[in-house]
Amino acid sequence: MIKDFEHFAPKTLKEALTLLDKYQDEAKIICGGQSLLILMRQGLVAPEYLIDIKGISELSYIKSDGKGGLKIGALTTHRTIEKSSQMRDGFAVLAEMETRLASIQTRNWGTIGGNLCHGDPAGDPAPVLIALNATLKMASLKGERSLPVEDFTLDYFETALKTGELLTEITVPAPPAHTGTAYTKFNIIESDLATVGVAASITLGAGDSCQDIRIALGAAAATPMRAKKAEAVLKGKKISDALLAQAGETASTEADPISDMQASEEYRRELVKVLVPRISKEAMARAKKA
């Protein structure tokens, strides 16, 4: 049963921040609410005040950052991103990721910011945004600050947001030339949360060597994570099947997954081992075309 609460529906960011500042920890933010309402129904979250930011239209946008990158308002729905004509070239991976995120109904209402703030290590957007080297902007009455996506989630369902802070924007920088990014997730039911998700972004240098690489894993640890050791295996080298296999191996050891109903720890490691080379190959193929 959901405990009743007082409901605020601010129309501007300023109003929302003022309310947040006023009610501090007694308030919770709701946006699409696709995850929060479930927690509230289970009684796991029972806020006194609910600040409903779904109606703040100033936070729903996709625009250019002026340098070939994108700025996405935190309240942009998954479906808007999926259907946006701006999700092409280096950003197409974002739309691809969104297509496999839950159901159309959920994507129509749920927002990318809400997904990130939920802090679920199995969420789809985080690994992709980490691979794309995206940053997050957070605002409070005191001001703004930014953080790379990879530093945003601190633990299971715990983020770096401080009391009084709101996630406002995601900046996805323009990928360097000759960069390809790809994402895949493993699950048993097609539209399900990831048992393991893997995103990779590869920038090819002279002679198709791996000039730069970012590999991000979902549902492979308490938070979405970068597989830096695996990246190191490939970085600066000419990519071969053997190296890719080694990177997969490395990623599977640096991952720190749990055993649960969906999969055992070993199986998750195994999946990381298989999916890292697969998706890196795909990223490389895209980099060649980019």
Partner: protein
């Protein structure tokens, strides 16, 4: 056989317009004036003594109207096996002991659901936790905790089936295989959870609206448990959001709402939450299976022995039947000259296992069809060939058990063989697995031992020619209202729209045991057909008198035309005859009664349907993940009454049975079901659903109405086995425990690799 005018045609379901416009009113939708809302408090312990229940605080909460516990009941125990008191073991509201997580201990009625739920938190229950046991293999040990006092080794019930001389026969076999399997649980996941609105009035009469597969059973079980006379309880089944075997026993929603309503003389509604539905209603029976199979070199199966231990959960429920049927269907669909089965149902401190679509046969078919493929491989025989060699044929007697009249198994095998050939050479890591099955058309078990007919129907023709069909059959989505209306229209010679069906209301309908064991088409269909035939006989009497032909011609009615059989152009309108006949009866409507009770039809069922299924999978050998590419089914169910209905049953069965093979499971920790939500309980969705093809085989069942037999449950039997066999064909690994998850496949692939090295 003359052309049928109604049956076999693609028609709209009779409940269609209501359902596609959202105007069908389910129990879930009902609101009565003055209605209260109930909630049930359930045990958090798998096994505990109830020391004390203090309801005072809850009663004081504003808006709470009543709180009841086991003390407010008669203390009777419900069970469908009324002749065997020891098998009636479920109090529903526990008085002294709880036996699984979810066992009800108290219930509240309040002005709204929130208040009722709040009140649950205010009920103080003092428990003394007892040692608990979860696995049947543990529960049958000497020193295991006792789930029910005085039950030796926690064995709830055992079943033995035997014919021939099994031990002698094994001596004559060229090859013997012994294999072990484990079949998992499965949740029914009806989209409408269990719910009931019960209204008990000051005059001592009770009306129950409930989502059920048998208003008849609910009426009688409710009478047992409340002490009311059967006739004072009227059970009405509104449109029902699925059953699949989960809704034909008295459940906590019905019983608690009844007890609360009796306290208050006000209507009380209880709707189980999805979580309660997963944890505190019945589920498919998990089974440990030990199989021994012996054959001659040429593939002739000489002997089979099956030993089964099932996880019973806390109470008997319908478990005894599942135990029997899994044993019986372990011999299906083959002619074993020697066969022995021993099954044990063991009490455990887990949610109760019971009936679910297929009723023990999906388990036996999975294990049997898996082992048969292994045997075929050992002997170097084609899987279809070994099935052909041993498959049942028409007019076969299962020794001492059953007589099979119509049987199209061999035609089904031929069709599937063609299909597999047509698919030709498959891409790498694809495989097609085959699985054959049979199932019953209605069970010959009258659990209740009442003197009522198994199925009965009343047909009444009104002055305008409109026909009221009264039947106790329960349409839970499978479409019996439509099928029975079609049978009635065909027999009477009128159009489908002339029939108005009144079903599953014990106040006005004759009894019917309900929708289980695939019985409605054959059993209720026969009852309806007879009732309609009786009406027709009366009409034709009038017709004969009126038309007074000078020779004794036979009369018939077809498409609302009453005519001479040999000279169909000579006749009169059905409507005219109806008017005159009713006038001739002093204004009394034309009425016909019909019933069906199987006599001398063996121990299981009066008829059986058969089929063969081929499932194609594509395996990713690096992850073990496989896709269900296609499922093609050749099946026969006698005369097809309602073709749209059969397609739906078949495709729906693949979603459910494919899920049983592929992903559905109820993992537990210390008796706690870990995935009690649709998010965590994995179900096949549209993107996961394979292509499905149907190859219809013509048969005619002499025992069935117009030659029809079942086409609903049997279709859940073959899929898990077909998937298992397909995975083996694709990548050479055999998974003996359900569900066949990618993780298990990958593990097996790795082990296989290791062995190679």
């Amino acid at each position: 056989m003359s052309e049928y005018s109604v049956i076999g045609k693609r028609v709209h379901r009779v409940d269609g317009p209501e359902k596609v416009t959202g105007s069908a009113k389910y129990t879930f939708d009902l609101v009565l004036p003055g209605m209260l809302y109930g909630k049930v408090l359930r045990s958090p312990h798998p096994h505990a003594k109830i020391l004390k229940i203090d309801t005072r605080k809850a009663k004081r909460l504003v808006g709470v109207k009543a709180v009841v516990t086991g003390k407010d009941t008669l203390g009777h125990k419900q069970g469908i096996w009324r002749r065997f008191p020891e098998l009636c073991d479920e109090e529903i509201l526990c008085r002294e002991k709880v036996r699984y997580i979810g066992d009800p201990v108290a219930a509240v009625a309040a002005i709204d659901e929130d208040t009722a739920e709040e009140a649950l938190d205010l009920i103080d229950v003092e428990y003394e936790p007892l040692p608990a046991v979860f696995d049947p293999l543990e529960a049958i040990k000497e020193d295991a905790p006792q789930v029910h006092d005085g039950i030796e080794l926690n064995i709830n019930i055992n079943r033995h089936i035997e014919w021939g001389d099994v031990d002698e026969a094994f001596k004559k076999c060229d090859h013997i295989r012994e294999d072990q399997f484990k079949c998992s649980s499965q949740a029914h996941v009806c989209m409408e959870t269990h719910d009931a609105v019960v209204s008990y009035d000051y005059g001592g009469k009770m009306t129950v609206w409930t989502s059920t597969q048998s208003s008849y059973y609910i009426q009688r079980l409710m009478a047992d448990m409340t002490g009311l006379r059967e006739g004072d309880i009227r059970v009405i089944k509104p449109p029902t959001g699925g059953g699949f075997g989960s809704k034909f026993e008295l459940d906590s929603a019905q019983f608690c709402a009844a007890i609360l309503s009796m306290k208050l003389c006000k209507p009380v509604k209880i709707v189980l939450s999805r979580e309660e539905e997963f944890t505190a209603t019945k589920r498919r029976t998990p089974m440990y299976y030990f199989l021994k199979l012996g054959a001659k070199k040429d593939g002739t199966l000489l002997a089979k022995e099956a030993r089964v231990i099932t996880e019973g959960g806390a109470y008997t429920a319908m478990g005894a039947t599942a135990l029997y049927l899994t044993g019986f269907f372990s011999s299906f669909p083959y002619k074993y000259p020697n066969y022995r089965y021993d099954g044990y149902r063991v009490y455990t401190n887990t949610a109760v296992t019971s009936a679910m679509r297929g009723f023990g046969a999906p388990q036996s078919t999975f294990v049997g069809e898996s082992q048969l493929d292994m045997m075929a491989e050992d002997l170097g025989i084609d899987p279809i060939e070994i099935r052909r060699k041993n498959g049942m044929t028409p007019n076969y007697e299962v020794p001492g058990q059953a007589f099979i009249q119509s049987c199209g198994l061999h035609q089904c095998l031929d069709k599937i063989e063609e299909h597999v050939k047509e698919r030709g050479k498959l891409p790498p890591n694809h495989g097609i697995g085959v699985s054959a099955y049979g199932f019953m058309s209605g069970g010959i078990f009258n659990w209740f031992d009442t003197p009522y007919a198994f199925s009965a129907a009343v047909v009444r023709i009104n002055i305008d020619g409109k026909v009221d069909l009264f039947t106790g059959a329960c349409d839970i989505g499978q479409g019996s209202d439509t099928t029975l209306s079609m049978i009635c229209a065909e027999e009477l010679g009128v159009k489908l729209e002339d029939i108005r069906i009144h079903a599953a209301d014990t106040g006005i309908c004759p009894p019917d045991l309900g929708a289980w064991g695939s019985r409605e088409t054959l059993m209720n269909g026969n009852a309806v057909k007879r009732a309609a035939a009786e009406c027709k006989r009366q009409l034709l009497e009038f017709a004969a008198a009126k038309m007074a032909p000078n020779i004794a011609y036979d009369f018939d009615i077809k498409d609302r035309w009453v005519h001479l059989v040999d000279r169909p152009e000579r006749g009169v309108s059905y409507f005219d005859i109806v008017k005159e006949a009713i006038r001739g009866k002093d204004g009394n409507a034309i009425m016909g009664r019909g019933h069906y009770t199987p006599h001398r039809k063996g121990m299981i069922s009066p008829a059986y349907s058969f089929g063969v299924q081929a499932a194609e999978v594509a395996v990713d050998t690096e992850t073990g993940r496989y896709k269900l590419v296609n499922v093609t089914t050749a099946h026969e169910s006698g005369t097809v009454i309602n073709p749209v209905g059969i397609e739906g049953q078949l495709e729906g069965a693949i979603m459910m049975a494919g899920g049983y093979g592929f992903c559905e499971d109820q993992p537990m920790d210390e008796g706690k079901i870990l995935n009690p939500s649709i998010a965590d309980y994995k179900l096949i969705r549209s993107l996961d659903m394979p292509e499905t093809d149907i190859l219809e085989i013509d048969t005619y069942e002499p025992e069935g109405p117009f030659g029809a037999k079942e086409a609903g449950e049997g279709l859940t039997n073959p899929t898990a086995g077909a998937i298992g066999n397909a995975v083996y064909k694709a990548v050479g690994v055999r998974i003996n425990d359900l569900p066949i998850t990618p993780e298990k496949v990958l593990k097996a692939l790795k082990e296989k690799e290791k062995k190679k090295k």
